[in-house]
Structure formats: structure tokens, C-alpha cells
């Protein structure tokens, strides 16, 4: 689905997160691991936040994980969100070991249907021609 009004978009140039957003255009959810200390790095970053090194590898996530926690915004004045009604923002813990801010979609009543620990899978919301795509999650 594509929203009528545009959500707040990532802004560029932003050198640390650019590779992450470029990958979303291919519908790939990517994250880094550190070749020196094995740390899973997220947010995307040129340096490893555990050891300071810059020897990292980009990996593609399978897009499966669980809801760590969520909150439901009851009403928003932002034009991209106000027609959604109540919508759920969440942290999802991917099975590869990183935690992402996201939305939980594909549910009727988010307050009743979303639970901490619930298994979820990745879906994409394209933001327009040639633009980034937003990773979101729905019940697995």
C-alpha cells in the first residue's frame, strides 16, 4: 500500500543509514555484524558500537521475529497518519539479534490483537516511485 500523504521520510545525505535505506528499495532488510568482535550492529553504522572498529559485514535478515513491545497512537495530527486511525508502533526483535523500530500492521484492533512476544513477519510499504520502502511487520 502507498500512503496518500507522505510519512516523515529518511533524509539524505546521511552516510551511516544510506546503505540500509538503499537496500529497502530491493525489499531487503539489512543489518551489520562486526568481523572483529561478532557484535550485531543496529542502527546501521560505519563503526561497530561495541569495539569501535570499522570492519563490518552487511547481512540480509529473514524478516522473522517477535514483538518486544508496542504502543498504539490513538490519534495523530500528521496528515500521513490521521486517516489510519489508531496505529501501532513497536520494537521488533529479529531472530538475527537486532531490534528495529517499526509498525505492526495487518491487525484489526491493535490494542486487542498485538501482544509482547507475538511472532511477526516482514512486509514492505513502498513510499513512491524510486523512493525507499518501509519495513513493517504483521502477525506470522
Amino acid at each position: 500500500m502507498t500512503s496518500q500523504a507522505l510519512r516523515p521520510q529518511p533524509h539524505f545525505p546521511e552516510q551511516d543509514t544510506q546503505p540500509f535505506w538503499d537496500a529497502t528499495k530491493r525489499h531487503e532488510l539489512v543489518y551489520q555484524t562486526c568481523n572483529d568482535c561478532s557484535n550485531v550492529i543496529f542502527f546501521p553504522s560505519r563503526h561497530c558500537t561495541a569495539c569501535g572498529g570499522a570492519n563490518t559485514t552487511w547481512n540480509v535478515s529473514k524478516g522473522e521475529g517477535e514483538v518486544y513491545t508496542f504502543s498504539v497512537v490513538m490519534q495523530s495530527r500528521h496528515p500521513a497518519f490521521k486517516d489510519l486511525g489508531a496505529y501501532a508502533v513497536a520494537y521488533v526483535d529479529l531472530d538475527e539479534g537486532f531490534r528495529i523500530m517499526t509498525n505492526i500492521v495487518g491487525v484489526g484492533n491493535p490494542i486487542e490483537e498485538i501482544q509482547c512476544g507475538m511472532r511477526v513477519k516482514l512486509v514492505w510499504e513502498d513510499q513512491g516511485d524510486g523512493q525507499v520502502s518501509l519495513p513493517m511487520f504483521e502477525p506470522a
Binding site: R7, P8, Q9, P10, H11, F12, P13, E14, D16, T17, F20, W21, V40, F42, F43, P44, S45, Y68, T69, F70, S71, V72, V73, M74, S76, R77, H78, A80, F81, A86, Y87, V89, A90, Y91, D93, G97, F98, R99, I100, M101, T102, N103, P110, I111, Q115, C116, G117, L134, M136
Partner: protein
């Protein structure tokens, strides 16, 4: 171990208005509060040799505010870590005074958040248009400030079984204190609160849902306001107009959204023990707890993480009550009424120091009987993503 007597709060002022209108600026609130706090201490403008301010509302940080005030300090500290910046400032000032680098430190804060209609507590999107990693990885999903804290409350309820009724006890206890504070009553009146009265648990759990699971009466107000604190060396403090309130322990820490991390565990779990160890006192000795109440969940985390109860048992702790000024069972909680019901212009940290000082001087509108020790624990940033927690432990003379 003897308590430290190396630096003391000697002057305080809380700007009385929460709605200032277009005729007064944040900078003017800072200057007026500075003058009043120095008067309170019996000191003058020219005595100030150190400036602590986040550097907001004037260009080039601590340099800009020093010029605006007309002070040429030996020490400038414009640490800016959100609402707890002022605990950081007080802690740093105490250290610099103890090191002999300055004698009279001035801490200032001013904000016209309400008059500016800035979205601090009720809905704005986090982040700015300036490209940065945080904003790029959070803003597109519509996270609001309240939902940021909602993430933490939801996890707390899931992890420990904490109930909405338990969270509501925080709003109920602190509103009682607010109703005894004429400035808080005026604040709630001027900000057009629906009910300027004491609250029941039902009032809170039946109030409007803003961002599940946070309801309106668990959220702080958005006011204008400000204040100032004067911190001085022992030799200055001994000759000040009022009894000194000593800074005897300090702690600072940060916490972030981390892969696999426990979002319910705030930075206070690090800075609290640091401050208590520094002061050589324990939570059970504290008479007054000034805990940053941006939201109910913030207080819950501070109570647990500073060790007033075990982690996860904060719900039972607050639901049990005994947090009023006239009940010696537990530390009195937010005796000015807190950010929920008295004053929250965006960065509440300075008010924690102000009310703790009033308590230890015997000047509060909800005065605890003969208090010896108070804790000011601030929380800056956003609890669910990145925040700092500064702790200042204060002792009566």
C-alpha cells in the same frame, strides 16, 4: 562515614508563572530567576563565577547565555541531555567547586513551551529535518513522544504484571501535593485542566487514552516556566542568607535502545547506585524523593532502579501508598505536585532540585517533618529510545 560538605545549594527560585504569554521570553525567565535565586542566597550578580545552562535560546551555547546575562565566568558547562541536564549541572558544579575552580555557580533554565505551542508532552513527532541516524531510523513509523514512553509502560506491564491501577497511584499521590501548592493550583487552572482537584484511581484509569497504554492523567502538563539554582563553596555557604543544602552524592548514566536490552531498566539503575555509594547513604534513609514525572512510567522506573524497591515491584510499592508528605513510612514523592500537576516546561530537572532544597530548608507547601536527606533524580531524552538519568543526593545542614 561523615557526609561531604564541599558544595551547597544556597539560593533557589522557581519562576511562579506557567503561562507567561507573548510578553516574556525564555531568556528573560532565566535572567529573572537568576536574580531572584541570588537574592535568596544573599549574593549578587558579580559574585557568580560559573555558569551552568543548556545553552538553549541563545546562540553558541554556554558562551551565549553568559554574555546575555552579563557574567564572565571562570567555568562554563552547557551539558545538554534533556530534562535531567540540571542534575548533571548541579553535580558538575559541586565537583568544580570542590576542586577549587569556582566559588559561586549559577544554574539557569527558562522555557515558553506552552506559549510556543511546542509539542513536548502531547503529540509531536520526534526528530528534525536535519539528516541523522536516529531520526532516519525512527521518524518514518510515526513514533510520538508519548508512544515512546508507552513502549516502556507496555513492556513493564508485560514483564512484571504491573496494572494500570498501580500506575495511577502515582498521579493520585502527586496531585494531592499539587492541591496544597498554590502555584500548582494556578498552573492547572491557567492551563485549563478539566478538574483542578484531587484524583481517584478511577479518574486516572478512565481518562482519555493518548497512546496505549498511557492515558491523559499519566502525562505531564506542557507549561511555560523556569528557575535558577545557586551553588557555592562552604565558605560562601556559611555566610549565605539561608541554611545551606549540601550536595553529598552524584551519579550520571545513559541508556539506549539496544539489541536484546531490557527497556524497563533505565539509566537510573546505574546512576542511582553510583550516587548512593558516593553519598554513603542508602535509599531507606531518604526522606524526600523528587523523581522526574514526565509520565507515570518514568516515576515507576526511577523508584525501582534507584532501589526504593526491587525491580518489577514498583507497582506494589506505589499502590501501597504512604508517599504523602505527612506519612513517614516512605519517602515523600514529588511534594510540589510534579510535572504531572505543577510544572513541566519541557525540561523539569531543575524543579527537582528546587523542591528538594525547599524541603531541606523547611519551606515546602507540603513540608515533610524535619527531613535530613532528599534525592533529585532526573530523566532526559526519551525513556524508550535514549535517555540520561542524573541523580543528586542532598542533605540538610
Amino acid at each position: 562515614m561523615p557526609q561531604r560538605r564541599e558544595a551547597a545549594i544556597v539560593g533557589v527560585h522557581e519562576y511562579p508563572l506557567r503561562v507567561v504569554g507573548p510578553g516574556t521570553s525564555a531568556l528573560q525567565i532565566k535572567a529573572a530567576s537568576a536574580k531572584a535565586a541570588l537574592d535568596d542566597a544573599g549574593l549578587s550578580w558579580s559574585d557568580v563565577d560559573a555558569v551552568y545552562d543548556t545553552g538553549s535560546h541563545q546562540g553558541i551555547g554556554g558562551l551565549g547565555i553568559s554574555e546575555y546575562l552579563g557574567i564572565k565566568p571562570k567555568v562554563i558547562d552547557s551539558t545538554s541531555v534533556g530534562g535531567t541536564s540540571y542534575e548533571f549541572h548541579a553535580n558538575h558544579a559541586a565537583m568544580m567547586i570542590a576542586a577549587g575552580k569556582c566559588e559561586v555557580a549559577l544554574l539557569t533554565y527558562g522555557s515558553t513551551a506552552h506559549s510556543d505551542r511546542r509539542a513536548i508532552g502531547t503529540g509531536g513527532f520526534t526528530g528534525t529535518a536535519t539528516p541523522n541516524p536516529q531520526t532516519n531510523m525512527e521518524a518514518p513509523w510515526g513514533l510520538t513522544l508519548i508512544s515512546n514512553y508507552g513502549l516502556v509502560k507496555q513492556r513493564h506491564m508485560h514483564q512484571y504484571g504491573t496494572t494500570n491501577e498501580q500506575f495511577a497511584a502515582i498521579s493520585v499521590a502527586t496531585r494531592k501535593h499539587a492541591m496544597r501548592n498554590p502555584e500548582a493550583v494556578k498552573a492547572m487552572t491557567d492551563l485549563e485542566f478539566v478538574g483542578v482537584n484531587e484524583l481517584s484511581i478511577e479518574d486516572v484509569v478512565d481518562s482519555r487514552m493518548v497512546a496505549w497504554p498511557l492515558r491523559l492523567l499519566e502525562c505531564c502538563m506542557i507549561s511555560d516556566g523556569g528557575g535558577a539554582v545557586v551553588i557555592a563553596s562552604p565558605s560562601v555557604a556559611r555566610n549565605a542568607a539561608k541554611k545551606p543544602v549540601w550536595i553529598i552524592g552524584t551519579g550520571e548514566a545513559t541508556q539506549y535502545r539496544e539489541n536484546g536490552g531490557d527497556i524497563t531498566l533505565s539509566a537510573g539503575a546505574q546512576s542511582g547506585p553510583r550516587a548512593f555509594a558516593d553519598a554513603g547513604v542508602s535509599p531507606s534513609e531518604i526522606d524526600v524523593l523528587m523523581a522526574y514525572d514526565s509520565f507515570s512510567i518514568t516515576v515507576m522506573c526511577m523508584i525501582e532502579d534507584l532501589g526504593f524497591c526491587a525491580k518489577g515491584e514498583g507497582g506494589a510499592y506505589v499502590a501501597d501508598g504512604h508517599m504523602a508528605f505527612d506519612d513517614p513510612t516512605k519517602p515523600a514523592l514529588n511534594t510540589d505536585g510534579g510535572g504531572l500537576s505543577s510544572n513541566h516546561p519541557g525540561e523539569r530537572g531543575i524543579f527537582l532540585l528546587l523542591e528538594a532544597t525547599r524541603q531541606l530548608r523547611g519551606e515546602s507547601t507540603s513540608q515533610v517533618k524535619d527531613p535530613k536527606l532528599a534525592v533529585a533524580v532526573g530523566n532526559g531524552g526519551s525513556l524508550g529510545s535514549r535517555h540520561a538519568t542524573g541523580v543528586s543526593i542532598l542533605a540538610a545542614d
